[in-house]
Symmetry: C2
Subunit: 301 residues, 2 copies
């Protein structure tokens, strides 16, 4: 059977949307008590009906390298997506990036309020780890704790959250191209890296496999961010479902602001080449990961 | 050897303080990248040099029921304390309770800024789960995933965060005594419950043991919150290291505001009785848990 990227993308988005809708209900979220409807609604607002679900796609595609069935990757993909969703909710807050619009809809703090947005983000992050601990994620507890460790490393102070702090600190001083790349490797790269590694761990990847796939993920993650920065300069708000030209308007330092769009496009091509090279050991089973790397370079929204 | 509560309390506080100081460094927090110094500093500010470490104490004491050595409970206690610390940082934000002072020092958003406080909280929460996934927490991965599940259930939408949302929503309508108790059972009770259950799980507690200890934890947790509400009326800011009389000043609905201090004190006595009754099956090994329940009722700060 020939690999179809559009099919893989659509199926993942459908699976994740369904799983999120089932997971984010007062009944499913009940613990020692029941969450307020407002909290459940804000968690749904911040995670449903939006996004390409690229991180769950990477989980699925990395697992596919080792023959894991797509359905068996859904809880893990969901956990990564919950972390992504929480990070957007918190990043959009007035105290952070102060964004009113996300995927063409009001951000969570605009639809609700700041306190609810903070709590909804906290709850989504917590839920991600609770989900990974459950048996539906993987029958082997030893694999599940590794997934928890990977997600915590990718999402925490040494990863995504740390990158966000570097980004905020960078607003007040000149950053070299290298410093910008390092910040992006944490802010957006670390969760993409975690997604790929978590998929690989679902499939029982060896250390050598993990090394190759991590190299893929790091190159693909850099490409993803660079493409995003290029699109901020070249795309329309309608295509993106959010404001564009925002980086320049805010004097935000990006690779594009440092070297220009044309050089950034060349660099993007090199990154995709690096990502594809890292997949050489894997044959056809890595066609999904290959297609996603190419998609990162070619997407127009 | 006779059990000494003051010794247990002091030793736990010392162990947790040391472990936090070692854990919250840029080196120890490094993942795919290194955290900014500002983030590390804010995480330290929000968790070091403060607090009685009652939740790690409960982890230690619940584990002691099954003969687990105190040292072996430190990583688990630390994880619960990290969640407690994050919750205080986020609760103190202007968008939430808007507190400037915590344990006699500026809150994290006052010492840094709101964005840093949001991120420091997010990073502490994430770190808690990463820590639980590590082998130093317990040699058996099956136990570690149960700890992750317990903490997520206690801290998430069906527990602590859900309780905080109920609390905020309650500000705009009349709450019955029962509704206040249910809210507190989530907001402060759920994490206390998780601490006790996690300690029990470290010791390989049976389902029957867990049932008894959960009953203890729920009664002790209610007692803890009720004592806190009583102290807000009766204690001085100097003794508490934070503002008092704040509940009444804000028109906050507490059990005390509903039934008065004297009736609340009687109710507190009943809760302690319930907590102690739940420990009847356990003999001397539960002396620590007994002492903590009594301490909850008798503390003056």
């Amino acid at each position: 059977m020939t690999y179809s990227f559009p099919n893989d993308l659509a199926t993942t988005a459908r699976d994740i949307e369904r799983a999120l809708a089932a997971l984010l209900t007062a009944d499913a979220l009940a613990g020692p008590g029941r969450p307020a409807d407002r909290l459940t609604a804000a968690m749904r607002h911040g995670s449903l009906n939006g996004g390409k679900r690229l991180r769950p796609l990477l989980v699925r595609q990395a697992a596919a390298v080792f023959g894991v069935a797509p359905e068996a990757t859904v809880p893990t993909g969901l956990a990564v997506e919950l972390v992504h969703a929480y990070s957007l909710i918190h990043d959009d807050l007035p105290a952070m990036d102060d964004d009113d619009l996300r995927r063409g809809r009001p951000t969570v703090h605009k639809a609700y309020d700041d306190a609810t947005a903070i709590l909804a983000g906290d709850a989504l992050l917590t839920l991600a780890f609770g989900l990974l601990a459950g048996e539906t994620t993987h029958p082997d507890a030893a694999v599940r704790v590794r997934l928890v460790a990977e997600l915590a490393a990718g999402a925490g102070a040494g990863g995504m959250v740390g990158g966000q702090m570097h980004d905020i600190e960078g607003e007040t001083r000149f950053l070299t191209e290298r410093a910008i790349a390092d910040m992006h490797a944490m802010k957006t790269g670390a969760l993409i890296r975690a997604a790929v590694r978590m998929g690989a761990r679902l499939g029982g990847a060896s250390d050598a496999d993990l090394t190759h796939l991590t190299a893929y993920a790091e190159a693909a993650g850099r490409a993803f961010q660079l493409a995003d920065d290029i699109l901020d300069v070249t795309a329309t708000p309608e295509a993106m479902g959010k404001q564009t030209g925002k980086d320049a308007g805010q004097g935000k330092q990006t690779i594009v602001s440092r070297i220009g769009v044309e050089a950034a496009r060349r660099q993007l091509g090199e990154m995709i080449h690096d990502a594809l090279s890292a997949l050489l050991p894997f044959g056809d089973a890595a066609d999904g990961l290959r297609a996603t790397a190419r998609f990162f370079a070619e997407r127009d929204n």
